[in-house]
């Protein structure tokens, strides 16, 4: 910059040189633009302020805490607390209310449905489908055909503890493998019988009397007479057109020979009680209930 002891003006450009000279080449002293320098000064001042306010410099056994006492974990804890507080008026009402109170109170029900829909997208949609439509081995929740019961309490219990999950209070119920118990002919008859129960076509080899007898002996204990199902055991209704594991004969043979045990995780612990309540209301609204069980 100007005023340096080596002040020397370059003849071609009229600019001062720095006085440095290497092999006859002299360096022009072109100062940095003002805007650039001011930004540099400003960021330097900002950095010093930052070091004072926030945790910054490592020491022997810790670090400078900064005068604001900020910590990233503290900050997120506080933000979550704020969020909880912001939602408190509705969530605490939901938390305390019984299901019948929620269903009667339109405002609370709307809130539960909204919260339930959001939680469903994050946690349940990968298995039950975005709209609850289900997939092979993951039940459709859009129908009023509930395997484990369609009352809000039953749905809540299903969500909370899961089905064949690792939770000690999980719902359990087994579709046994019959390959060792029955012979191929009997299994074939039963597969036809199951299709008949569901109103589907049967093969010529199907003998109705034999099928019914076998079903009464082997299956009715869980699936009830006529295959109407049993929500206590999670044995699905077979006398309808809703199939969890496929309705073609090959799939049914597979179900009978090898058994089935589809699993739904427990959400207790991962989701809080209010969210599970909201989910119950939302899930029931998808399919509705035929009869109050």
């Amino acid at each position: 910059m100007s005023g340096a002891p080596h002040e020397d003006i370059d003849a071609h450009t009229g600019t001062a040189t720095t006085g440095h000279e290497w092999d006859g080449i002299r360096e022009l002293n072109t100062p940095l633009p003002k805007w650039w320098l001011y930004i540099l000064y400003a960021t330097t001042v900002w950095a010093i302020g930052y070091i004072i306010v926030y945790p910054a410099i490592p020491l022997i056994s810790g670090h400078t805490p900064g005068i604001a006492g900020w910590t990233s974990r503290g900050a997120v804890t506080q933000e979550l607390a704020q969020l909880t507080q912001q939602r408190a008026p509705m969530t605490s009402a939901l938390e305390k209310a019984s299901f019948s109170e929620i269903t009667k109170d339109e405002r609370m029900r709307t809130f539960a449905l909204a919260q339930g829909r959001a939680a469903f997208g994050d946690n349940c949609a990968p298995c039950h489908g975005a709209g609850g439509g289900g997939a092979f081995s993951f039940p459709n929740l859009n129908d009023d055909d509930w395997i484990w019961g369609g009352s809000l309490e039953a749905i809540q219990q299903t969500i909370q503890y899961g089905i064949r999950s690792t939770h000690p209070d999980t719902r359990v119920g087994i579709m046994p493998a019959f390959a060792q118990i029955l012979n191929t002919k009997e299994i074939d008859q039963l597969a036809n019988h199951v299709r008949a129960l569901g109103g589907l076509t049967t093969e010529k080899t199907y003998e109705k009397a034999l099928g019914s007898r076998l079903f009464g002996e082997q299956c009715a204990a869980c699936h009830s007479d006529g295959g109407k199902g049993n929500i206590e055991l999670g044995a699905p209704n077979l006398a309808d057109s809703i199939w969890l594991f496929g309705s073609d004969k090959a799939s049914i043979l597979q179900t009978l020979a090898r058994g089935r045990a589809s699993m739904m995780p427990a959400w207790n612990g991962r989701l809080d009680d209010t969210t599970i309540k909201a989910l119950s209301v939302y899930v029931q609204s998808l399919g509705g209930v035929k009869t109050a069980p």
């Binding site: 440095h20 290497w22 490592p58 056994s61 810790g62 670090h63 910590t71 990233s72 974990r73 503290g74 900050a75 997120v76 804890t77 933000e79 979550l80 969020l83 994050d122 946690n123 949609a125 990968p126 298995c127 975005a130 997939a135 092979f136 081995s137 993951f138 690792t166 589809s262 699993m263 739904m264 995780p265 991962r270």
Partner: protein
Amino acid sequence: MSLWHKHQIFEKNSIFMLIGVLVVISIGGLVEVLPLFYLKSTIEKVEGMRPYTPLELAGRNIYVREGCYNCHSQMIRSLRDEVERYGHYSLAAESMYDKPFQWGSKRNGPDLARVGAKYSDEWHKQHLDNPRSMVPGSIMPANPWLGKTEVAVNEIQMDMKVLAFQGQPYSPQMIENAAKDMVTQATNDATDADGLAQRYPKAQSRKFSGLDGPVNEADALIAYLQMLGTLVDFKIYDGKANLR
């Protein structure tokens, strides 16, 4: 020459310049990196962490091999919306046995740090075979070969020896039982499940892929996915005492 003009020494000698640059950058680097090795706040010990079981370790190797980290992070940051969606923010200690760590920096898919126990094995199997069958709009690539590829049970011992050499607490007993433990963990109602759970607390054993036959890569990968984020019990973790 006044002190102010000493800088010419650096400007006129490229070797001095080079050494000077190295010294300055090293100081910057050391100040940033070294404290992480001794500061109490960065090496928090957390109850529940244990090294990977042989089967989980094999699964983790497959995770790295298939480049899952290109689309998935394993690091829940301490930000409100992340905690809301994925659960408790990740602790540094939760990746203490990850070499290299799988934090990742890209999220084409969701964070997987706490995906363990969120879905069923069956779901993972179907999802790995064909993600579109479970999530219609998914852009995740299918990995249908995993269930068809056997895991070289005897090779995992070598991996464990290397990790032990690097300081991971694999005991000689763990290394000796590596192949046996892997088969045990990939078996339904295995007889030695207790022995395994003793060596590796919270280890779950079952045929994860649901496929008959020897241990396959789907068994290993699903075992790994199902344990992610499940080792630390956050009911007893004292967040307030560990603010940082």
